[in-house]
């Protein structure tokens, strides 16, 4: 590696540092805004002042999964991942069009500032509030562990010494394409003789970088430490508003970063069609004994490419992802609390359209970048979560101010991860403070005491997430999917019952929450501990997998069980007091208007 490359990599780190400083600064500004109102309402729900851009770009599920987990799957299994993520076409309209108005209205009428608050007040049951809080903490913890891994990986890749590794690892596969003009690259690639291609494949196969025993990855742990201190720090300072403001800032950085990277990758490699054909040509040739999924055509077709025979996305499994992302978005407590915090219905309406456009311009470019990653780095193996950060470093290596631009691009995934972590930490901390500390330990706690408990809670979350990442799992998207599915199965039906069904009872909602979460968890435990006989060879190749009954994601069964239990138990128990229900379901006039 020459000096120019080394020094330019410091530019990437510098740009990322600026981004981190800007995020912390926003946290301090958020703290000032909180001081204008009451601490609890300000810290946990931002005084219900979210506008359309803020709501649209922060209320849904862009996360480390979007920039690292999802591309990792596309890199490994090919274009089939487009169908896997396809339901995002309706995420904006479902996310804001079903529950937003009622959640927002009910939270105002009850004075609720968290999802457990809302359920507790709606059903007049502290047990529901506590159960909801505990379930939120449980499921979001999985998500946080995955996000901390993603944040650490980005800093690791951006670190100067890490860039050397990127360059080294990409060389054999890149051969001429990475180091020449696009025209020359295409020409060189197509000019490779069959023997040269075979030689290239053999060299690639020989490397097997992830099958060898590895030393301690100090760069990963350094990244983990920097990421943790930053994100825990600014969230402690500014609470919900810090999470939302930085989320908005980071969402803007995401679209800029993705646009730049997409343009650079297209310029350097060519069209998606070219990248796909090139990748397919260089996949190992199947033998007579190879499974059907080892056919290179599976890099384009379903159920996806896999040399070991694992089917990534058979049809029923694909259909179930139209439940995962939709109901996961609707049931996610971090989404629901933002709906509660929105300013008015015009905000909700505009958010539907804004997010529709935003999602389109995020997911398709990332998909292409990941497919192109297969051309540049065909042997990432278990490091495939790093494909987008590595592509950012690679794509900017030979352009003026390249390392600064790579830092700008890396800010996109880093921002997504930081935004997710900060918002989830606020949700977890609010649950601890409202439903455990205030609910059971000290109902008359002062604002200062609440602040102290909140800070302790956030630091504890950070420490646990760091500890859980000492041995990080493969495919962080597995954690994202489990957390999303668990949230959906636990909270979607209760939220629907709270918003639309007068007859719903506290016992019914409790049954709905517990049965939905228990179903999802049981299927996960069967998948993990059931042994080889319960490994159906579906989905990503990771030990953290569920048992997919009838080849469907657990969320489908969780939702079914949750709905049945919620309805049956509600009908079997005494109806709620009509006076209470009337206050939440019937038309009311403001007192001043009546007077």
């Amino acid at each position: 590696m020459n000096n120019e490359t080394t020094s330019s990599s410091y530019g990437a780190l510098f740009a990322l540092g600026i981004f981190i400083v800007a995020s912390v600064w926003l946290g301090t500004q958020a703290q000032r805004a909180i001081k204008k109102g009451s601490f609890v309402t300000g810290f946990f729900i931002g005084n219900r002042g979210l506008g359309a851009w803020t709501l649209a770009l922060t209320a849904t599920v862009q996360s480390g999964g979007t920039f690292m987990g999802f591309p990792s799957l596309a890199y490994s299994y090919g274009w089939i991942v487009a169908l896997w993520i396809g339901s995002y076409m309706v995420v904006p309209i479902t996310g804001f069009g079903i529950l937003a108005k009622r959640m927002s209205q009910l939270s105002r009428r009850t004075g609720a500032i968290t999802v457990p608050d809302l359920l507790r007040e709606r059903f007049q049951s502290p047990a529901i509030g506590l159960t909801a809080s505990l379930l939120i903490m449980f499921f979001l913890s999985f998500m946080l562990v995955g996000q901390f891994k993603a944040g650490a990986l980005i800093i690791k890749v951006a670190w100067p010494s890490a860039e050397k590794k990127v360059e080294t690892e990409t060389k054999p596969a890149v051969n001429s394409p990475a180091n020449s003009t696009p025209v020359a690259a295409k020409s060189a690639a197509s000019d490779l003789s069959t023997s040269e291609k075979d030689k290239l494949q053999k060299e690639t196969a020989k490397k097997e970088p992830n099958t060898k025993p590895q030393n301690i990855d100090w760069m990963f742990y350094l990244g983990l430490a920097i990421f943790s201190v930053t994100v825990v720090g600014y969230t402690m300072i500014g609470g919900f508003l810090a999470a939302v403001w930085t989320d908005l800032f980071q969402s803007v950085m995401m679209i800029i970063g993705v646009a730049i990277l997409f343009a650079l990758v297209t310029w350097k490699i060519g069209s998606p069609e070219y990248a796909t054909n090139f990748a397919m040509e260089h996949l190992p040739k199947p033998t007579a004994t190879s499974p059907a999924t080892a056919n290179p055509n599976n890099f384009v077709y379903g159920p996806g490419y896999n040399p070991t025979g694992r089917e990534f996305l058979p049809l029923t499994f694909a259909a179930s992802y139209f439940f995962v992302w939709i109901f996961g978005g609707l049931g996610a407590p971090a989404t629901q609390v933002r709906l509660m915090a929105c300013k008015d219905t015009a905000t909700i309406r505009r958010s539907v359209f804004l997010l529709s456009v935003y999602n389109f311009f995020i997911y398709f470019p990332i998909l292409f970048i990941a497919i192109a990653g297969r051309v540049i780095m065909p042997d990432l193996g278990k490091s495939s979560d790093e494909v987008v950060p590595r592509m950012a470093i690679w794509a900017t290596q030979e352009i003026p101010l390249g390392s600064l631009i790579s830092g700008l691009i890396l800010a996109a995934p880093f921002g997504a991860v930081m935004a997710t972590v900060s918002s989830y930490m606020v949700v977890i901390a609010s649950g601890v403070v409202r439903d455990i500390y205030q609910g059971f330990l000290k109902p008359k706690a002062t604002a200062q005491e609440i602040r102290l408990i909140t800070n302790i809670c956030m630091v504890t979350i950070g420490v646990i997430a760091i500890a859980a990442n000492i041995q990080p799992i493969n495919y962080l998207q597995a954690l994202v999917v489990f957390c999303t599915s668990g949230g959906a199965a636990s909270f979607f039906m209760p939220a629907m019952m709270a918003a639309f069904w007068r007859r719903a009872t506290a016992a019914g909602v409790l049954a709905s929450m517990l049965s939905g979460s228990a179903t999802t968890l049981a299927l996960l435990l069967i998948g993990i501990f059931g042994g080889p006989s319960f490994d159906q060879k579906l989905g990503p190749e990771t030990a953290f997998r569920s048992y997919y009954f009838l080849e469907m994601e657990p969320v489908v069964w969780g939702l079914v069980v949750s709905a049945i239990c919620g309805v049956v138990v509600s009908l079997l128990t005494a109806p709620p007091p009509e006076s209470h229900v009337s206050m939440l379901f019937d038309k009311h006039e403001p007192e001043k208007a009546v007077a």
Binding site: S38, T41, E273, N297, V352, A445, A447, M583
Partner: protein, 102 residues
């Protein structure tokens, strides 16, 4: 919980936010259902046979174009229409200071 600044109407009339929200939810569920059935069916029809020659449209595999890309664009248009012509504006209520719950 107290009735925070609101009094019930003499006749129990359904809340307008509840009514509009329920109406819009039904529409949204239909959009989700149609998108799911169309997308999964189209992808299965065109995208699960690896013996077919690989063909592309606008740089993406043909089955992705018909099964994911095109319906995604249609959903953006539907979302725009829903947001600006179907979903109604309602008064959500006043914000009440939550510290009095402490």
């Amino acid at each position: 919980m107290t009735n925070r600044g609101h009094v019930a109407s003499p006749q129990a009339e359904l809340d307008p936010v509840l009514k509009s929200s329920a109406r819009e939810s039904i529409f949204v569920f239909l959009v989700w259902l149609i998108a799911t059935v169309y997308s999964v069916s189209m992808c299965y029809w065109l995208g699960y046979d690896n013996t077919r020659p690989v063909s592309y449209m606008f740089g993406v595999p043909l089955w992705i174009f018909w099964g994911v890309l095109l319906p995604w664009v249609v959903c953006i248009v539907v979302s725009w229409w829903f947001a600006y012509f179907y979903m109604t504006d309602e008064y959500l209520g006043d914000q009440h200071d939550t510290d009095d719950l402490v």
